[in-house]
């Protein structure tokens, strides 16, 4: 009798598992608060993950060798409203790391993916998770548009001395 019950519970579980994929529509989106997977799981379950590019829509960002000053200035404005509360322009850590040298530490793709796809990156990306262990505050998704993200990146380049 007991065995039968256990078996039927298993049966139920299996049905539930196979259904869960199809019923996405009524499933709450929990990605924001999802517990972070460890970096081992991320890399082992997904061997094709490119830690230099990160996770997100940007696969290749066109960057010129000289600075686009107008774009950098637009980036400065975004920085003032949405980023400056936590990031200094020096190498000093405030809530998040200072931005000095950030364009040397990460590829443009990684940075733009991180600022537009923050929750996913904090869950999957080894470098993002290493920073979270130091800062202990999940970086807020500040909902930058693609254009704003690019402008901020140009502003970071200016801050790192690109002329």
């Amino acid at each position: 009798m007991k065995k039968l019950i256990i078996l039927s519970i298993f049966g139920l579980l299996m049905v539930a598992c196979s259904n869960s994929g199809e019923k996405n529509e009524t499933t709450a989106n929990t990605s924001g608060s999802a517990s972070a997977a460890t970096s081992e799981t991320a890399s082992s379950s997904n061997p094709s993950y490119d830690p230099n590019r990160g996770e997100g829509k940007f696969t290749h960002v066109e960057v010129s060798s000289t600075l686009d000053a107008a774009m950098a200035e637009a980036g400065n404005k975004v920085y003032t409203v949405k980023c400056s509360a936590c990031h200094k322009l020096t190498d000093e850590k405030l809530v998040g790391p200072g931005w000095k040298g950030v364009t040397q530490r990460h590829t443009p793709e990684w940075i733009m993916n991180f600022v537009t796809n923050t929750d996913d990156m904090l869950t999957k990306d080894p470098k993002a998770q290493a920073m979270l262990e130091i800062c202990l505050v999940r970086m807020p998704n500040q909902h930058l548009t693609d254009q704003e993200a690019r402008e901020v990146y140009e502003f970071m380049r200016k801050n790192d001395g690109v002329k």
Binding site: T80, V81, S84, C86, V137, R138, P140
Partner: protein
Amino acid sequence: MKKNNFFNYAWISLLVMGGLFSCKPKNASDAVSGDAAQRVYVAPGKYDEVYNFVSGGFNGQLSVYGLPSGRLLKIVPIFSVFPENGYGYSEETKPMLNTSHGFVPWDDQHHLELSQTNGEIDGRWIFANANNTPRVARVDLTTFKTAEILELPNSAGNHSSPFITENTEYVVAGTRFAVPMDNDNGDVPINSYRKNFKASISFISVDKNSGNMNLAFQLQLPPVDFDLSHAGKNKSHDWFFFSCYNTEQANTLLEVNASQRDKDFILAVNWKKLEEYAKQGKGKTEAVQYAHNVYDENKHMATSTIEKQVLVLDAKDFKDVCYFIPCPKSPHGCDVDPSGEYIVGSGKLAALIPVFSFNKIQQAIANKKFIGNYDGIPVIEYEAALYGEVKKPGLGPLHTEFDGRGNAITTMFVSSEIVKWNIKDLKVIDREPTYYSPGHLCIPGGDTKKPNGKYVIVYNKITKDRYLPTGPELAQAAQLFDISGDKMKLLLDFPTVGEPHYAQAVAASLIRDKSVKYFDINKNQNPYVTKGEADSKVVRNGKRVDIYITQIRSHFSPDNIEGIKVGDEVYWHVTNLEQDWDLPHGFAIKGVPNNAELLVMPGETQTYKWSPEKPGIYPFYCTDFCSALHQEMQGYVRVSPANSNVPLTFSTGKNIPDAATAPPLLDK
């Protein structure tokens, strides 16, 4: 095992049958069907299928539940202050509760109506009435915030409200308490009621795009108590129906004196005709005062305007607008079926339910089948308007909704049950006990052209033994029934907050995806917004001090402020810089009389007024747990005597402890 089940079922059916014969169910756990738990279980991480908007009654708010789980999702403050989020306390929201009598911090919220297009719920707004200080509100269903409140002149006891026409052309508001009109001398003997008191019904037009309300015109009527109402549908689109009691026009001991006549009335109003007369400039414009409060979502700020006039049309001056239909015994519910042909009156002291026919009413009017007139308004012969009566439905019929399959379900207050009956043959099909004394009930879309007849939720007035005792005051009991089959089945019993009267429900899919997640900081037009920490500052202008302060996980800027003085009027303009969902920050200061906290949504600015009375150090902090370093989200403000010359300074992270006076941290 099987045998046991059989006995259980037999026992349950016995109990059900017992319920049929006795007036009150004997046992608190009667008649729950076997799969009820499964039917209402919403697994962790899954959404409910229905939004249930439930009036808050004496708490003045609107509560939002998920169905079938019965989980409370939100309380939306409308007519009462809400210290939990600062509604009615912040400078931006105080104007919402302004009236011609000044700031009124409480009301009694009875009925709700979701906006409709073509007689179907469109999921844009929900309207709410305030019974005590007559007002109608509109709540925006993308933000779940009160967007607008309109006060009503010439009114008292705004009860038959806020029912709407099929395209939300008008929201109505009828008076339960007749009073002398605003411009009449109110200092009259109370027993001059019949001479000096009047009732009124307000027609509030609603802008199709913005939803903004405007008091279009008022209909003045004899001093009876208007109770509930519903608009016509389809062929009866141009009509509105209102139940009324106290046609005796009593002004004392109404319990007895307003229960004398065998029949009171349902008032049929041809609102299209009335609208025409109003457009022709008939009636008279009166100078009155009433507040119109609008919340600007871009400024995150309300303004209150005192309106100065209203157009009043006296019912007895227009011969083809108003007709009274006799209705037995102090009718409460006044409900129109999905086709628009049948109008159900529920006489709360009657032992039957009269169903009137719209076609017959039209014929009776055409053939002048009147028994006389009541204060100048024709009274139609009862039989000439009547489609038929539901015989012996139970005791104390109160309110009816429709299942969309040709049936009506009515609450029976006195005999504590809901009764399902067929609209065509008027035969009772089913009855189930409720616990106890139900007032209103709600079927999703149950008062529209397209009901979704899967559930009925019953809101009971008496709770008694349903839940663990909590002293003399108990939560109100609601019960959820499955009505998809032949037999109604009790599924769930859940407590509600305040005192629900009316409710509305709609498929979650109509509202869920339109929900705003945060406010765009770049679109914030509050005059005191701070867009980025670089702009945070403290500005003194005489005794007025404006503090432009920002919040982000997890600090304030500025968080050290000195140079505030006793006697200053300090305004904290708090801007939340977050741009993500579910990241409000709170704000509170120690020891502030007559204020609460602020909850500031991402991208929003809210203002906290503070008049410090004693010198000292006052901590302030974030009250809404925001990150692992939430406890660190705190600051200090120093208050000095009025005559001090401490300079005004403010900073974040710069005001380093003074090493010269500091004792060592670790004394060796």
